[in-house]
């Protein structure tokens, strides 16, 4: 390792090691915490009460509960719906369409739309939650602008369609990321290649499907990886907007973990859910990395 290193690295390696120590410590600490979660998931540790001190190992019981008790599977389903519609369908497609159409627009229009989309993205989650709940309350924007003119009875939209609103909020908040990434991806397609396709007689649609999309395939996979995982473990906006409710209608897994750990106080069970989530995320990552791999 050092033998093949550049001479200045050899000269300074004690310094390099010293300067890396904080990072090594932090990473070690993170690994330790993760190990802790794993260990907890095999115990009946509780946040309060007798089990907070006199806990014991209970084997795989917590993991069995994931499938036998109500809660986990329902929450997983909500998370899957939330993730699929808000990231893969919503952010991904909208981000791509915006990136594709805005490229050819004049500067002012382009930058104002870009700014609007990015404004949602950089907005703190709690403020976003605040805005979205205000938008959908009776006499809120949606009510005044759409429901009342159409004489649809004013209702509490957040109570009636909580999952839909949470999905919309996440699309609103996260599309900017896909947009920025796809803008960069489209810029990476050399102009001469799409011109060559034009000379070859490809229509704009054909250029999109035969040239552009295959050429940015790896960007698409990377983006999908980022946004699915991001949405899968997303917590603050949903928590601040609905708290997982009403009932468990928007109780995605991250909120389920929070509730089980801190409201119910079952730290062992909560940890098992976390580990299960991690496994699901790992499987998704492997799936996307496979997609990324180029054909031989």
């Amino acid at each position: 390792m050092l033998a093949s290193a550049h001479p200045w690295l050899k000269r300074d390696w004690p310094l390099l090691v010293c300067l890396s120590i904080p990072a090594i410590l932090a990473v070690g600490l993170l690994l330790y915490m993760a190990g802790w979660v794993l260990v907890m998931s095999f115990t009946d540790l509780s946040l309060f009460g007798r089990k907070a001190t006199e806990w014991s190992f209970i084997g795989l019981e917590n993991y069995e509960r994931l499938f036998t008790r109500r809660g986990f599977l329902e929450s997983l389903w909500v998370t899957v719906i939330f993730t699929f519609f808000s990231s893969i369908i919503g952010q991904n497609i909208l981000g791509f369409v915006l990136a594709g159409t805005l490229r050819n627009q004049p500067g002012l229009l382009r930058s104002s739309i870009e700014s609007a989309v990015i404004l949602g993205w950089v907005l703190p989650d709690v403020v976003a939650a605040f805005l979205w709940s205000a938008t959908f309350t009776p006499n809120g924007l949606v009510d005044l602008a759409i429901l009342q003119p159409l004489s649809i009875e004013t209702r509490n939209l957040i109570n009636d369609h909580p999952l839909l609103i949470v999905i919309l909020a996440n699309i609103w908040k996260g599309t900017a990321w896909s947009y920025i990434l796809y803008s960069a991806a489209l810029d990476s397609v050399p102009r001469e290649v799409s011109e060559a396709a034009k000379v070859d007689g490809a229509t704009p649609m054909q250029r999109m499907f035969f040239i552009t999309l295959p050429m940015i395939k790896s960007h698409i996979a990377t983006n999908c990886l980022f946004i699915t995982i991001g949405s899968f473990v997303y917590f603050p906006l949903i928590f601040a907007l609905t708290g997982g409710g009403p009932g468990t209608k928007t109780q995605v897994l991250s909120i389920f973990v929070y509730n089980e750990s801190f409201s119910v106080g079952k730290l062992g069970y909560g940890s098992a859910i976390s580990v299960a989530m991690l496994i699901i995320v790992a499987i998704m990552s492997i799936f996307y990395v496979r997609l990324l791999r180029e054909p031989k």
Binding site: A34, I113, L119, I180, A240, I255
Partner: protein
């Protein structure tokens, strides 16, 4: 002819999307400037900035400073730690370093709500249940991702530049300061921005770590005041929200140019 018509239609549709996108802000705007705000979406009878004055003074103003302290501490810590560790990761052929980094990033995907339990206990036992503890925790949680990101940026700096600097007698710090850092400015901007905004937005950690209202950062402060449903001061909430959002938005638009190249790099390198 057809083309111009088509592009007009596209422009109008795009403008409409932008309008829909910013429309939720209307509520925030009218309530923030209305001294008698009642939380409804209506034109204010009078316009004034009393709400902002209220949101900047007393405990609320202190919470702004708390957020600023937390974010600057976190981003500084993250950038310094990540820069020095990413450099050897990029330049030394440590076997399996990529697999290792990806494993770490995956570990970071542990839901924050899950890993927060051990973090909480550790902080409690070391007396770190305060904003410094939150900053350290965020730094630790973000480190894998920032390390990977910076390493990828360092990888793109041609080693010839370092060779040139070395042959001219530059020390390690001079190589860092004059070659690596300027050449990967976009990457550092992304890392700084990423850690600043995570800290600025972070909600869960301070919610659990900090107990006293005076120590709240703005995220928890805002949540706490709009969680109390009894008699809500909407004008205060709206102006407080705006004050809370402004730095996050400003940081983005100030760094925009660097960030766009940086994010492009993230996309290309995965």
């Amino acid at each position: 002819m057809q083309d111009t018509q088509k592009s007009y239609t596209t422009a109008i549709i795009l403008a409409l999307i932008a309008l829909i996108w910013v429309s939720p802000f209307s509520w925030l705007a009218v309530n923030a400037v209305n001294p008698e705000a009642d939380g409804s979406l209506s034109w204010p009878n009078s316009v004034g900035f009393q709400n902002f004055a209220e949101a900047m003074s007393g405990q609320a103003g202190g919470q702004f400073m708390n957020s600023l302290f937390l974010s600057i501490l976190t981003s500084t810590l993250t950038v310094i730690i990540a820069v020095f560790a990413a450099y050897p990761l990029s330049r030394l052929k440590i076997p399996g370093r990529n697999a290792f980094l990806w494993a770490l990033v995956l570990l970071r995907m542990l839901p924050a709500t899950g890993v927060i339990v051990p973090i909480f206990f550790t902080a409690k036992s070391t007396g770190m249940l305060n904003l410094v503890g939150v900053a350290i925790a965020i730094t630790m949680l973000n480190l894998p991702f920032t390390l990977l990101l910076l390493k990828n940026f360092f990888d793109t700096v041609p080693v010839e530049l370092e060779e040139a600097a070395y042959s001219e007698g530059a020390s390690f710090f001079q190589i860092m300061r004059n070659v690596m850092l300027p050449m990967s400015r976009a990457g550092i901007a992304v890392v700084w921005f990423f850690s600043f905004t995570t800290a600025w937005n972070e909600f869960l950690l301070p919610l659990i770590f900090v107990r006293k209202t005076a120590d709240f950062p703005m995220s928890v402060g805002l949540f706490a005041s709009f969680g109390e449903h009894s008699s809500v001061n909407y004008g205060f909430l709206a102006s407080y929200s705006i004050l809370y959002a402004v730095p996050a938005v400003a940081v983005y638009f100030l760094l925009r140019r660097n960030l766009n190249t940086g994010f492009a790099g993230v996309g290309v390198k995965g």
